[in-house]
């Protein structure tokens, strides 16, 4: 491995297993995820994409009965090391969920919440700046700039999803995990979201779970195909969609299984 490529690797996973009350849902996955690019996870429902995605910000820790084993390193650092506080990890690895979940607070407070708890803003002006930049980056600023005091839950689904992305960006993470972020959105909102992801990858490492082959093909650089808890194939997106090595991948992409 050359110096250059290892620098671009954000996550390295060795033999990662996730089990719920002893039942294994992710069965020993080795994978490397590149920084400043979009990695897509695809695969049939129940194959463990979400379970595996939650490994990266240790959200599995909050699920009773869920156990994660294996070696997961972020920039070479073991994120499951005993001394590591998941709270700090989650500040570095943000997450966007399938259903938009803004807090029932104002739009401003939604975005300002993360910076506030981490003490990122020295002053009110600082905080205003962070909120402004985050909303701008999430492509929501123009739509909400006149109603920052309004409730975040009053926005449309697509706007809420971008608000949640702004909320994640506001704490300056290095990684953004997205679990089917567009599944509740209409095609126009989805298109906006994809443009946004395209821009975000310039600064962040993005891992996205999606059920849309077309979406994975459009936005991702690398694609991982999961099947029943196994990582079947992991390659350049172009490669996966034009010339998959595995028959199972091919069948899934062609819509023959799933």
């Amino acid at each position: 491995m050359t110096e250059n490529t290892s620098k671009n690797i954000k996550f390295t996973c060795r033999d990662v297993r996730v089990s719920y009350s002893g039942k294994e849902a992710v069965k020993g996955i080795d994978i490397e995820i590149a920084d400043r690019s979009v990695t897509a996870f695809i695969g049939p429902s129940g194959c463990g994409k979400s379970s595996f995605l939650r490994v990266f910000n240790r959200m599995n820790d909050t699920i009773p009965g869920c156990a994660v084993t294996g070696d997961i390193r972020m920039d070479g650092e073991d994120i499951y090391a005993p001394g590591l506080d998941p709270v700090l990890l989650r500040a570095r690895v943000g997450m966007v969920f399938q259903k938009p979940n803004p807090f029932p607070k104002s739009i401003y407070d939604n975005v300002a919440y993360g910076p506030r708890i981490h003490g990122l803003a020295e002053s009110k002006a600082d905080l205003d700046e962070i909120v402004h930049n985050s909303l701008k980056r999430a492509g929501l600023w123009d739509e909400v700039k006149d109603r920052l005091k309004d409730s975040g839950t009053g926005l449309s689904g697509g706007q809420q999803q971008r608000l949640v992305i702004a909320r994640a960006i506001a704490v300056s993470p290095e990684v953004i995990l997205m679990d089917e972020p567009a599944s509740a959105l209409d095609p126009i909102a989805t298109a906006k979201l994809e443009v946004l992801i395209e821009e975000l990858k310039e600064k962040f490492c993005i891992v996205i779970v999606t059920h849309s082959m077309a979406q994975a093909a459009r936005i991702s650089q690398k694609t991982a195909f999961f099947h029943m808890g196994d990582l079947v194939e992991y390659d350049e997106t172009d490669q996966i969609f034009t010339n998959p090595a595995e028959l199972r991948t091919q069948d899934y992409i062609m819509g023959r299984t799933g």
Partner: protein
């Protein structure tokens, strides 16, 4: 090719539909009947309480000229407090009434004594003299003067004027004599007896005489008790609920605690009273009849309610909110206190206020710890003997005189108004807190 009719068309399908519709109609009719029944019961209850209770809110009083004769009040000419305290104010009032109706003089001597007594009985026989005593005590210089005072009539006269007494029976069977009726009619016509708002009901303490009795002491007693209850039950209940729901380890001990909290909510309240009696009074030696003890006992009774309300309110918060908070790096405690608790607050407050309202209506446990004191003074500290509004209602309802029954209903009206106000506050808080989102 034969055209197969749809399974949802035809006679049999219609019959199925009709059956379904009929059971729906029956169900709806039952629902409406249940609601109508409940509303009727409520209307009847409120109607009967308000129907008797409203009369206690006004009361008749008598305007009278009273000569503060020096030879009766201070025969030795001194004005020292001791003499004035023990002076015969009853006599003063008897004389005043006699002066108002000098015709009594013309009666035979035996008759005259009875007439004088009946004459005096038109006014509140303890309220009238007491009123004068207080006035003279405040300003001893009044002795020797003639003053005009306004004093309550006796409860019998009041009841007669309110039409609550049956006067169509022979004189011996009623509490008001023909002579008294004649006097009262005269006084009423001349405007000396007038009806007015019964301030005493709200601002006086308890009394043996219904025309003088009020709820002030028991109301204050209830407030003090509720204060202690809230201070103990609310923080402990909410805290325990948060811990149980969010931070408690999952093990047998915690399960056991959970089961017992639910059981605690079902324990009859008198048991808490017995506990208070045995532990707080007999063992810990706390003062009897005191609001602090009542408050502790009612807190025990209220806090399972608050725990249960808080837990269900916390569980009603969608987990996605917690996930959202955790995903931006909030700690578990922050996720709970910044997000779950504010969202659960309306439910917690509503549950707590309902719990407090239940506590406010509790009578049995307070009887057990002796909060049945007959109080002619408003309690001024948490350790002084006190009583509570529902206990007062209970005591009044036990008294025989007609005048007490309307006062009992009036006290119930006041208690209900306090409860309605509490619920109003709950609703108001709810809408206010929800608007912030």
């Amino acid at each position: 090719m034969a055209n197969q009719p749809s399974i949802h068309a035809g006679v049999r399908a219609l019959a199925r539909l009709k059956k379904r519709r009929r059971s729906e109609a029956i169900f709806r009719a039952f629902g409406i009947a249940a609601i109508v029944f409940a509303m009727c019961a409520l209307a009847w209850l409120l109607g009967s309480i308000i129907g008797t209770g409203y009369k206690a809110f006004y009361q008749h009083s008598l305007t009278l000229e009273v000569e503060l004769t020096e030879s009766i009040l201070a025969p030795n000419g001194s004005r020292d407090p001791d003499t004035l305290r023990r002076a015969n104010y009853r006599r003063i009032m008897q004389e005043a009434m006699f002066t108002r109706f000098p015709d009594i003089e013309g009666l035979s001597s035996a008759d005259q004594r009875a007439a004088k007594r009946q004459n005096f009985d038109i006014m509140s026989t303890s309220g009238g003299p007491n009123y004068i005593r207080q006035m003279v005590f405040k300003d001893p210089a009044m002795v020797g003067q003639t003053i005009t005072v306004r004093i309550p009539t006796s409860d019998i006269v009041d009841q007669y004027l309110k039409g609550n007494l049956n006067v169509d029976v022979p004189e011996v069977q009623r509490k008001i004599s023909d002579r008294q009726i004649a006097w009262v009619k005269t006084l009423r016509q001349s405007g000396e007896i007038k009806a007015g708002f019964n301030k005493r009901l709200l601002f006086s303490t308890d009394s043996r005489d219904p025309e003088l009795a009020g709820i002030a002491s028991s109301f204050v007693g209830s407030l003090m008790t509720m204060f202690v209850t809230f201070l103990l039950a609310f923080p402990v209940g909410v805290g325990a609920a948060i811990w149980l729901d969010e931070f408690a380890p999952k093990n047998k001990a915690v399960d056991f605690i959970e089961i017992n909290i639910n059981n605690l909510a079902a324990v009859p309240s008198i048991v808490f009273g017995l506990l208070g009696l045995a532990v707080l009074l007999n063992w810990a030696g706390m003062p009897r009849s005191a609001p602090i003890v009542g408050g502790i006992v009612l807190a025990l009774r209220t806090f399972p309610t608050i725990i249960i309300a808080t837990r269900s309110a916390l569980r009603a918060v969608p987990p996605s909110i917690r996930d959202g908070a955790l995903s931006v790096g909030a700690s578990h405690v922050q996720a709970v206190f910044h997000h779950k608790l504010p969202m659960a607050a309306p439910g917690i407050l509503t549950g707590s206020i309902i719990g407090m309202a239940q506590a406010l209506g509790e009578t049995a446990p307070l009887l057990m710890i002796g909060m049945v004191a007959f109080l002619t003074e408003i309690p001024s500290s948490l350790t002084e003997p006190a009583t509570a509004l529902p206990v007062q209602i209970y005591l009044w309802s036990d008294s025989a005189e007609q005048a007490w029954s309307e006062r009992t209903s009036a006290a119930i009206i006041i208690l209900l108004m306090v409860l309605v106000t509490m619920n109003g506050i709950a609703i108001w808080l709810r809408s206010r807190l929800e608007k912030r989102w």
